[in-house]
Symmetry: C2
Subunit: 321 residues, 2 copies
C-alpha cells in the first residue's frame, strides 16, 4: 500500500531542502499507515512530528505545526494555495481502466457527450479512461478547472469547475457520495459515479437537485425568522473569506439582523447564542452538515436572499473558485 505514496523519490527531494524536522499531515482515511510512514522517515534520519488536526483537504494545512518544523508533508491532496515549506504528497489509487468501463456498461448511459471527472487520487488515469470511452462512441470532455484544482477532470468538494458545461452528463471516478452529489448539485446534470475499488456504479439524477433546492428554500424561510446570526469566517488557510464575512455581517446588520463574525476552524458554534449560522468556510458544511449542527447553516448567497439583496429566483450554489 505504501508504494502508492512513492516516498523514495520524495525523500530525495526533501533531503535537498536540508530539512531535519518534518511535520506530516494525513487525512483520516489513510491514518492507518501513520506508524509505518513515520518509521520510514525516521530511518532516513528525519525527526518527525504528526499533525493531529483534521485534514479533509489541502485547505486544512496545519499552520501551527508548520511553525515547529522545517518542512510539512501534506499527504493525499493537491495544493489549493501555495505555501512556503509545504510539500504535497500525491496519493494515487492504482485501478483497472477496463473494469471502470465494464462497470459503466451495467447501466444504459443515455447521453453521448459526457464530462469526465475524478478526485485527485483517481485523476491520474483519466486520459486513459477518456480514450476507452471514445472507443465506445462517447464524445468526452476532459477539462482542467480553475487554479484551485491541479489535474484535468479533478473535482474538489468546493470546486467543480472542471465539469464541462457542454456535456449532457458527467462520469465520475472515485469513492463515496460526497463528490458526485456535489457535481449533481453544482452542474445540474446527471452523474454516473464509478467506484473502481468496489466495481459499483451509482447514479445521481439531476432532478434530485430540485429536491435539494426545495430544502434550501425551507431553510432560508426558517432563517428569516431568526434574530441573532453568527457569520463564520474560516481560519483554515484554503478557506479564508474573512472579507466576505465582513460584508455579509454589515449587510445583515443593515436590515436589522443582529450579527457578529466568528473566526474558527470548526463550524459548530454549539455554545454561541445565535439561532442561525452564515457560513463562508467550506460550502459543503452548509449543504451537508446543517442537520448535525442543529441550526440553519446558510451560504453567502442565501444570506443575500435573507437580506433582500438577491431574489429566490436568482438562487446560486456556493463554490470557492
Amino acid at each position: 500500500m505504501l508504494r502508492r505514496f512513492d516516498l523514495t523519490g520524495l525523500i530525495e527531494e526533501v533531503r535537498e531542502t536540508n530539512a531535519k524536522k518534518i511535520g506530516i499531515q494525513l487525512p483520516d482515511g489513510i491514518k492507518y499507515w501513520i506508524f509505518e510512514i513515520v518509521r520510514i522517515l525516521e530511518k532516513e534520519g528525519f525527526e518527525v512530528v504528526v499533525s493531529g488536526k483534521a485534514s479533509y483537504g489541502s485547505c486544512d494545512i496545519d499552520l501551527e505545526l508548520l511553525k515547529k518544523v522545517d518542512l510539512l508533508m501534506h499527504f493525499s491532496h493537491t495544493p489549493v494555495i501555495e505555501l512556503d515549506r509545504v510539500v504535497y504528497v500525491p496519493y494515487k489509487v492504482e485501478y483497472n481502466v477496463e473494469s471502470v468501463l465494464k462497470t459503466l456498461r451495467t447501466e444504459d448511459i443515455e447521453f453521448e457527450r459526457v464530462s469526465l471527472t475524478a478526485t485527485s487520487q483517481y485523476a491520474h488515469k483519466l486520459e486513459e479512461v477518456k480514450e476507452r470511452l471514445e472507443d465506445e462512441g462517447f464524445k468526452v470532455y476532459l477539462k482542467k478547472g480553475s487554479d484551485r484544482v491541479k489535474m484535468k477532470g479533478q473535482v474538489l468538494g468546493c470546486n467543480f469547475t472542471s465539469v464541462d458545461r457542454r456535456a449532457e452528463a458527467v462520469i465520475f471516478v472515485g469513492d463515496g457520495n460526497f463528490h458526485p452529489k456535489g457535481i449533481a448539485i453544482y452542474s445540474k446534470k446527471d452523474v454516473y459515479a464509478v467506484s473502481p475499488l468496489e466495481e459499483k456504479l451509482r447514479k445521481f439524477r439531476k432532478d434530485e437537485v430540485e429536491k435539494f433546492i426545495r430544502e434550501r428554500y425551507t431553510l432560508i424561510a426558517k432563517a428569516m425568522e431568526c434574530k441573532n446570526f453568527c457569520v463564520v469566517a474560516s481560519s483554515k488557510p484554503g478557506q479564508n473569506r474573512l472579507d466576505l464575512a465582513v460584508k455579509l455581517r454589515n449587510l445583515l446588520n443593515s436590515v436589522n439582523c443582529n450579527s457578529i463574525i466568528v473566526y474558527t476552524d470548526e463550524v459548530r458554534l454549539e455554545n454561541f447564542p445565535c439561532e442561525c449560522i452564515i457560513n463562508t468556510a467550506c460550502p459543503r458544511i452548509s449543504y451537508d452538515d446543517w442537520r448535525v449542527i442543529k441550526k440553519p447553516v446558510l451560504t453567502p448567497q442565501e444570506a443575500e436572499i435573507i437580506a433582500g439583496k438577491r431574489s429566490l429566483d436568482d438562487y446560486e450554489v456556493d463554490e470557492i473558485l
Copy 2:
C-alpha cells in the same frame, strides 16, 4: 451582568494602543453575553471578530485570530504566559463573604490550619474571607503560587501551587467539581468547596485520592499491554511541552513501545491507530477525560512507569508549573 467585566476602563486602555480591529475570546460559560459585548465595542468604533475556538483557560489563546487583528481581548482568565497584543479581561463574581462563612458553618471543619483557595473569578475577595475565618479561630494560609497563577490563593486546573503544604485542610471558593477535585488529588488533603452562588458546601475527602490512584494503576497496567503509542504535544501556547513529548517518545521507543508524536489542540485522536495516548497537553485530560476518549490516556510520569524508569511507589501527579 456586564458590569462584572468593567469594560469602560478597559476600552480607554485599548483605545490608547490605537487598535482598530479587536478579536475577542470568551469561555463557553459566558458566551451568552457575546452579542451585547460586540455591540458595546462596535459602538466605540472598533471592528470586532469573535474567536470560535475553545477557551477553557488562558492556555487557549487563539493565535490564528491574533494574526488577523490588532489586539485580542481574552475574557475571564488570568495570563499563564505573556503574549504581545493580548489583553486579559478579568471576570469577577460579586459574592457575599458572610454567606461563604455561613455555608462553611453547615459542616464541622475538624481542622484548625486551613489553606484558602479560589478560581480567578472568586479570588478577589479571599483576603476578606481570610480575615473572617481568622475571626472564627482558624489559622489561614493564603499563598501566592507559581508564576502561572496571578492572584493569592488562585488555582488552575493544572496548577495547585497556591495550596499551602502546612495546612491540614483546604477551603475552596468557586463553582463546580473540577478545581476542588484537582486540589484533593494534588494536595492529598480534605477539601471544603463553597459555591457562593448556590450557597452549597461539598466535601472532597483525601481518601478519595486513594481510589483515584488505584484507578490510575489499573490504567497503567492496561497501557503496559499496548503496542502503539501516540505521544500528544499540545499546540496551545500555554500547554506547550513538545520537548517533553520528544523525550517520552525516545524513552518509549527505547523499550520497544512503538511511539510517535502527535501535535494537536484536541486530545481525541479517534482515527489514529494507537491503543494508548501519552498526554503532555493539559494534565486534566489524562485524569478526567480518558473514559470519553476510550483509550488509556497517561501522564508523562505514568509513561515513565511503563518504560520502567520510575517505580509505582514513586507515583506523582502531573502539573504544569
